[in-house]
Amino acid sequence: MEIAIEFLQLAIVMFASPLLVGLIRKAKARLQARRGAPVFQPYADIRKLLSKETVVSENTSWLFRFTPYLLATTMMLSALIVPVLSTRTTLGFMGNIIALIYLFLLGTFFLALVGLDAGSAFGGMGASREVAIAALAEPTVLIAIFGIALRAGTTSLDGMITRFAAEPLLMLNTGHLLAFFAFFIVALAENGRLPVDNPTTHLELTMIHEAMILEYSGRYLALVEWAAGMKLFLFLTLLSNLFFPWGVALDNTPVALVIALIALAIKLVVFVGAIALLETSVAKLRLFRVPELLAGSFTIALLAVVTAFFLR
């Protein structure tokens, strides 16, 4: 039964993540008074890319061919650890939140290597920017995690959700809210969303994530895009289930799972709306101002830890 739920969670992450990306694009388009592509467009994109020919530069090494598989695999592995629907997961024991964050970072690391691999100028530029941002976002992620882990008394994701779900005045707890904001800013930075990186641009001077994957085509590109979608899905699931744990199934009865699925869908739709609104209303920060944003998020995370220590 528990293994079936694991596979259900994996399937949800794998097959719903293109829909999430499509929803964000659609919501943004509607907010900008455009009609926008249909929400199922990302599926069509992936299918088209899978049937296309793959062109690989002859200057590249095995890393280039290996990385798309690695990206997809780490994301699928993360999908087994993140409590998408239920806190009673079989594999929940094998990874806590720190392991999860480093699984995400493994993908970032290899993507940066691939950016350098083909030897193109853009790839190198994208890789250097990505690594700079990752290095700045890293301390914030860890400190925000410590902020909530200290309050929950555990770093296990399941334990944290169980603990927070039992707390009635959760939304009035300042440490919790501070950690949420810090984590949200970092999630935007890690996923290459707007104030840090524009996911729709191919303009030479501004792109970060797009610059690294510029050399990819065909099924490799499909895998990379799909993995990016899964990463966004996992980050938003983590944010909604960890910080707003209402509805997450605490036991594995079918009713609880259905409720968890509906609750997750509602929370994700709210996040989609928030991201679309944010990306419509703010401009991309200049690259040299990104450290200021991340310093702000670092400050918030540090205050979250301080409150976890001092405020009850």
């Binding site: 005045l169 009035l172 707890n173 300042t174 809210l177 501070l178 450290p291 200021e292 310093a295 702000g296 670092f298 400050t299 540090l302 205050l303 301080v306 409150t307 220590f309 001092f310 405020l311 009850r312």
Partner: protein
């Protein structure tokens, strides 16, 4: 309203006030900084009305209303007028960059927590938990005053400092008597008006409101 919910709400609102103090460092434009101050004063007014409802204190309610009039309406207007009249470039010109200044703020907040937590835990009121936050606001207000070169932004630091002291009094003893609070508001208002005049004179004499210029001798 139970004491526990009040305590949580007070914590949250005090944190919003502290966050707005820190926002003063991040915002580059002076209008944005004045708005942050007005918003912070509004949060404090809301907080005092909340505590007034909890304690059935009519005086505290009056303090909240007076706070809105003086600090949300009058003082931001005076400051905006000063900004418009001097026509200075819209930057705060701090000595430290944004990122180091934010780190200093966090360190000040940690110091405030370290110093005030024992004091707060000996206070029986449900609002006492948030005292370290108010004290952090005082310290950061001080820091903003020291860190800024331009006279107008120093006034903002002073106002934030004053707001921090008001919040501290509110949390420790449910506020000082109405008449004392009125005296303080009047003092602050007059201080801002006088400082505004000072700023105009500095601008006339030195052709800039950079207080660093005051250290130099002129013929």
């Amino acid at each position: 309203m139970s004491a526990e919910i009040l305590s949580k709400l007070v914590n949250l609102l005090s944190f919003v006030a502290l966050g707005l103090t820190i926002l003063l460092i991040v915002r580059a434009r002076l209008e944005g900084q004045v708005r942050a101050f007005a918003l912070q004063s509004f949060v404090l007014a809301f907080l005092s009305v909340l505590i007034a409802i909890y304690t059935d204190s009519f005086q505290l309610f009056g303090v909240g209303v007076a706070l809105v009039i003086v600090k949300v309406v009058v003082i931001p207007r005076v400051l905006n007028r000063a900004v418009a009249k001097i026509g200075i470039s819209r930057v705060a010109a701090p000595y430290l960059g944004t990122a180091p200044a934010l780190i200093v703020c966090v360190l000040l907040a940690i110091i405030a927590f370290y110093v005030m937590t024992p004091i707060a835990s000996s206070n029986p009121l449900p609002t006492a938990d948030a005292m370290p936050l108010a004290f952090a606001g005082v310290l950061i207000g001080f820091f903003i005053m020291v860190d800024r070169r331009r006279a107008v932004t120093q006034i903002l630091g002073f106002l934030m400092l004053e707001n921090g002291i008001f919040l501290l009094a509110l949390l420790t003893t449910y506020g000082v008597p109405f008449i004392v609070e009125m005296g303080v508001f009047l003092d602050v208002l007059v201080a801002v008006l006088i400082m505004e005049v000072f700023v105009y004179h500095i601008k006339d004499n030195f052709d800039s409101i950079d207080v660093g210029e005051l250290g130099k001798l002129k013929e």
